[in-house]
Symmetry: C2
């Protein structure tokens, strides 16, 4: 492979297998799949997901939505409590004109901003429920009050969503977080229906919790990282090493004693690291313990290799967290059986506004 | 200020003051200043640095060098052990044609690749010395052997450089790291001169260690972060809070209990965090303890505010580490006295190859 490093490398066959596997898993449960496109930010991968049966996409920001809508992906959920004012309000208006866009809400001021941004339009909102992560979202008992407030502002409340992000707290937390997601959504959904709201969307989602037993009310799952998985997902037990699909190709630039240094640092691998995980990446080809132990911006220091590589060798580093890594690159180098077969733009790279 | 968030905001007056202050400090010691442009990746800021007396720029990668050379900045040191093969070798050749470029070396294979990339050219190399960070670089007693090897490959050894990155290990480490830089460079320089090498460049550099007492051999300093400083530099004692120049403007999107959430997460603030620093950012306007305690990709959870803001408020977050934050954005919003006065491209954003 003649690629300049550091490079973002994706294995096409593994990618297709991951896309198909998750589509099958979710479909077998009778649920819809609305994958989170913040992971890949890529039109070609979104197209694979839709071909495999996804009903639409999830995005985090209006600028991500714009990239996908411009390319013809028009069924989108912005799973975020957006606060659209100024130019952001104008962007929301234009998106509502050209797409079937649903927008997250978790508070009155946000709902009021959405209503003010799109006067006279039937804006569909999905209420965020806090299922235990304690980040954004209202607790289930508060959801009817939020729904009535949205209704009074002229917004159409069509559903609820949650993200059981506490599944990432440690490898033992996944099961409980999956249960929490289901229970919180079921409670919120039942309350809203009892209050007269017509709830079409009951949406859960995180890669570790997708595939868990779900309550009858649930309608869709929103996993994101599953297209690639990563070192963190492996440690959580959400995938096997055979499913690791994305790596950062890096050149060994220095070897000293028991360490070596690659040209991928925090500007290529990102610095995300949960407290329960040591190091910043794994080099599978050099053994189970070959770990990026320290990051500078352009240096990854690796120790624990079964054998030291030579300066000039290209190694593939599995990053801790794919979503932030993808956002650092302008393109994917797409490989199949070790050969470069394509290059795909990270079309929504940096579209985080 | 009508800016869409998250946004990269730089205060022009503070920036100018930081640029001038460092130029004065280094000049007063009789040293040259070759600031590291990986921090800002910005032509306008490089121009300010040269106007204030910098002799040239430092860069980390050939693609950064290309951006600056294309804009007329032609005196550059690539302070990195580059390994140029394939397209990277071709890029090095073109840079050598159009700029006064010096390249880092820390091993024979890298030196051989540089020599092979530019046959028949007089390539000036600067040897990296390990002054205690134990990342890249050779120990001072090994530098003559490396120099002779470079010489035998036809490369011109013109100097030595080091980065006392162990100054970032903890706030008490700065003084020792500064001493280590000076001692390692003096030893390496003396050995090389004794072996007959004509050493013109003796280059130290990191923001925390710049300004320390230096040995007579030193010729230049290469600080980078000093243009903006950041939360990490503040904690290290390398700046005062009045010198903090860069922030990420973020909108409060959710307020629940004693926490609030802003729309700047790890895709805007980066996740860099030294072990000795808690949290991922500081909101000075909300008091000494207003800290981004948890990051998701698009969420920063803040606790410790002296008073809770309202949803829709825009707050300014001082990030832990400016260099990786800048690399996430396409432009700076330049402000003076609270008004937007300009926008500057992050011209070398993503140029990390």
């Amino acid at each position: 492979m003649d690629i300049e490093t550091p490079a973002l490398v994706v294995d096409l066959d593994r990618l297709q297998a991951n896309v198909d596997h998750m589509a099958g898993l979710v479909s077998a449960r009778g649920l819809g799949l609305r994958p989170h496109a913040k992971t890949h930010k890529c039109l070609e991968i979104a197209e694979m997901q839709l071909r495999a049966g996804a009903s639409g996409l999830t995005v985090a920001t209006l600028s991500e939505a714009q990239v996908f809508v411009s390319a013809g992906f028009t069924d989108l959920l912005v799973a975020y409590p957006v606060y659209p004012v100024g130019a952001k309000a104008e962007r929301l208006r234009r998106l509502l004109d050209s797409a079937h866009l649903r927008v997250g809400v978790d508070n009155e001021a946000g709902a009021a901003a959405i209503a003010a941004a799109a006067p006279g339009r039937d804006v569909q909102v999905v209420l965020e429920v806090d299922s235990g992560q304690h980040r954004t979202g209202v607790l289930p008992p508060e959801v009817v009050q939020l729904a009535r407030m949205c209704d009074s502002l002229g917004l159409s409340v069509v559903g609820v969503f949650t993200h059981g992000g506490h599944s990432y707290k440690d490898p033992a937390a996944t099961h409980g977080a999956a249960q929490d997601e289901g229970a919180a959504l079921a409670e919120a959904c039942d309350s809203l229906r009892a209050a007269g709201f017509d709830i079409a969307v009951v949406s859960a989602g995180s890669t570790p919790t997708t595939g868990a037993e779900r309550p009858a009310q649930l309608t869709e799952e929103r996993p994101g990282s599953y297209v690639f998985y990563d070192r963190q997902q492996l440690a959580l037990g959400a995938c096997t090493s055979d499913q690791l699909t994305l790596s950062v190709a890096a050149t060994v630039v220095s070897v000293h004693g028991d360490r070596f240094v690659v040209d991928a640092g925090s500007k290529a691998l990102a610095a995300d690291r949960p407290d329960w995980l040591q190091g910043h990446g794994w080099v599978p080809a050099l053994g189970a313990d070959a770990t990026v132990v320290t990051l500078s911006e352009h240096h990854g220091i690796v120790t624990g290799a079964a054998a030291q590589p030579a300066v000039g060798d290209v190694v593939h580093v599995v990053p801790n967290h794919v979503c932030t890594v993808v956002n650092l690159f302008d393109e994917y180098v797409v490989v199949r059986a070790g050969e470069v077969v394509d290059r795909w733009p990270v079309a929504a790279r940096g579209r985080n506004v």
